[in-house]
């Protein structure tokens, strides 16, 4: 049986469209705000939501998501509360939802219990930025047994055998990190990760989504040329942090338009 995530990518592919994946830190500023932001993001044109699990030590994140994590934790966000948010969303929406979180809190919760509870709540997968392919073995097995997606990563430095191994076991979509660094908006030459995506495409049909750095509709379109979708985090979270909800949604809307215009 195919999953919400697989169906979404299949549907987009059929329509010749690119996936717009929006990252939102769960609990920033609170659960109700997150639920509202996800609903509005979907209305504005997001295809998939990455729900950030705030962590005390987010080593792959730049200043914006670090700050959002601090705020969310200060307001008491926890993993069980994130699952409540997912359940709430599922009452009205079937938008694919994947969690993005550092592995310690998931490990602490119990990985298998997490997958079980996450599936029951309606979460479709997990992106764990501090679990590279080599460390994912056991988690991959458990996830596969439940039909839960554990996302793999490729970067400009992923080559050779590691690329093949990663592609061979990919599920959901492959998170393609656009450049050396951490999350946050910056100018990036997307042709670099584009070449890596082309190489990955030789090994797998699993959808590819490019993330890191994308802050404008133009950048979204430029990145999307090399993949099946784009992931936008800091640009949206920055606006939400600043209390500019409408601006955040307008940005999502404009990215949607830019993607649909560039790829019809």
């Amino acid at each position: 049986m195919s999953t919400r995530l697989e169906n979404k990518f299949a549907e987009l592919k059929q329509a010749g469209r690119k996936a717009l994946i929006i990252y939102i830190t769960a609990g920033m500023p609170d659960a109700a705000g997150t639920i509202e932001a996800i609903r509005r993001a979907e209305e504005a044109g997001a295809d998939i939501i990455e729900l950030g699990l705030p962590f005390s030590d987010p080593m792959a994140d730049g200043p914006v998501i670090q700050t959002a994590s601090v705020v969310a934790l200060k307001h008491g966000m926890t993993l069980p509360k994130v699952l409540e948010i997912v359940r709430e969303i599922r009452k009205t929406s079937q938008i694919p939802l994947v969690a993005m979180g550092y592995i310690n809190q998931v490990y602490h919760y119990g990985f298998e219990k997490f997958v079980e509870d996450a599936m029951a709540a309606g979460l479709d997968g997990l992106i764990a930025p501090d679990v590279p392919h080599e460390e994912a073995g056991e988690m991959r097995k458990i996830s596969a047994a439940y039909g839960f997606h554990l996302m793999e990563f490729i970067t400009p430095g992923t080559t050779g055998e590691r690329m093949e191994d990663t592609c061979a076991e990919a599920s959901g979509f492959i998170y393609c990190v656009s450049n050396y660094g951490v999350t946050g908006v910056k100018e990036i030459d997307y042709s670099i990760i584009g070449k890596v995506c082309a190489e990955a495409r030789r090994h797998t049909q699993v959808p590819l989504a490019i993330g890191f750095g994308i802050g404008t509709p133009e950048a979204a379109a430029a990145a999307a040329a090399h993949a099946d979708g784009v992931i936008v985090g800091s640009a949206v979270v920055k606006r939400l942090l600043d209390g500019q909800k409408d601006e955040a949604m307008a940005l999502i809307g404009n990215m949607r338009k830019a993607l649909d215009k560039a790829f019809q």
Binding site: S56, V106, P129, P132, E135, Y180
Partner: protein, 394 residues
């Protein structure tokens, strides 16, 4: 499970994919130079000529008399250049970085000792050096900040998170991830992703090897007890490693008991409430709350207040290779003053934790036995802070 760099179930490589190729490159280079006689000779030569090895195994006669039990010997890492064992690892990693063609080194630092050691070797080898230091620590350790600047390093205050060592470590990793092609990250303790814990241990294991040789020469046998302080655990693993299979040698790692047993008041990762978890690339014991968020560690000693610990120590704990205990801030302060007065040696506050454990250990020892304490660093850097803690002017 990835079996690379595991100590039992502990260790591993829990890092962003962006860092993996650099770790693989580092591992490859390390394995190559580990077996390279020329590299090893260069490393030993710098340890000897520049850092001042071997360090003495000093018979602390008056301290021995004070307790009236086993003879106490001090492994004098405090006599090394820059004042602590940190230079062993910094030299080894800088030599490796040089061979790997990296032009820049970065480091995290808490109290500033590892930052100073890294800035020192960067100056020695003509490399650019960036040191990440928590904003709180920059304020607390002005003298070391100035030393690093004097040595030509750029000190970057980190105010994200709680603005202390763990945040400086995260920031150093972020910088490394962004500049991975020309930068080597000199991690300061036996922590982090593989190959760091193994590599740092190998650069520090000279401490234990010298203790063994010096003990055989001076005592005609191995010591009965070996004591070292432990934060991340580099001086402790360097001290313990050579004795890990010696059943007759009891190993004690002394953690910072801080001001109380409450969460956030100590750094008792192994001897307190730590549970296995993942931070900064390794699976190891970790101070964390019920939600799996990392709890800030506290100690009067800035070199011990890290919420994690090297994965090899986690393995030693579970396997019973070493015993992990703790002493409080006050006990360490007492030991700091005791050694100063009895032996004329001002120990680092970190090392004072190892010395403080003698209060508990010595009554259990016999006069014919011997105890070795690794004096990991000298206490000049702590004098001001201690004066303040004692309510005196410095």
């Amino acid at each position: 499970m990835n079996t690379k760099g595991r100590f039992g179930k502990f260790g591993g490589q829990y890092v962003p994919e962006i860092v993996m190729p650099a770790l693989n490159e580092l591992e490859e280079a390390y394995l190559k130079y580990k077996e390279d006689p020329e590299f090893q000779e260069e490393f030993r030569s710098y340890l000897r000529e520049y850092a001042g090895r071997p360090t003495n195994l000093y018979y602390a006669e008056r301290l021995t008399m004070h307790y009236g039990r086993a003879r106490i010997f001090l492994k004098r890492e405090d006599l090394l250049h820059t004042g602590a064992h940190k230079i062993n690892n910094a030299l080894g990693q800088a030599l490796l970085a040089k061979r790997m063609g990296k032009k820049r080194v970065v480091a995290e630092t808490g109290a500033g000792q590892h930052g100073v050691a890294t800035a020192t070797v960067a100056a020695l080898f003509g490399m650019e050096c960036h040191v990440f230091m928590g904003a709180v620590d920059v304020e607390r350790q002005k003298l070391n900040v100035f030393r690093m600047k004097l040595l030509g390093a750029k000190v970057i205050p980190v105010s994200s998170g709680t603005g202390t060592l763990k945040d400086a470590t995260s920031e150093a990793i972020r910088y490394w991830a962004t500049n991975i092609e020309d930068t080597h990250y000199i991690i300061g303790s036996a922590v982090g992703p593989h190959p760091y814990p193994t590599m740092v241990r190998d650069f520090q294991k000279v401490i234990g090897e010298e203790i063994r040789q010096q003990s055989l020469e001076k005592l005609g046998g191995l010591p009965n007890y070996v004591v070292a302080c432990i934060g991340g655990g580099s001086n402790a693993i360097g001290t313990f490693y050579d004795f890990r299979e010696e059943k007759s040698v009891k190993l004690f790692g002394v953690e910072a008991g801080g001001r109380s047993d409450a969460a956030g008041d100590n750094a008792k990762t192994l001897s307190g409430t730590g549970e296995p978890g993942i931070l900064h690339g390794a699976f190891s014991y970790l101070l964390q709350n019920e939600d799996g968020q990392v709890v800030e560690a506290y100690s009067i000693s800035a070199g011990l207040d890290y919420p994690g610990v090297g994965p090899e120590h986690s393995f030693y704990k579970d396997a019973g290779v070493a015993e992990y205990v703790s002493v409080t801030d006050q006990e360490a302060l007492d030991a700091f003053q005791r050694l100063s007065r009895i032996e004329g040696i001002i120990p680092a506050m970190e090392s004072s934790h190892a010395l403080a454990y003698l209060e508990e250990l010595m009554p259990r020892t016999k006069p014919e036995e011997t105890v070795v304490v690794t004096l990991s660093g000298r206490g000049d850097k702590d004098v001001q802070m201690v004066a303040k803690a004692l309510g005196e002017e410095a």
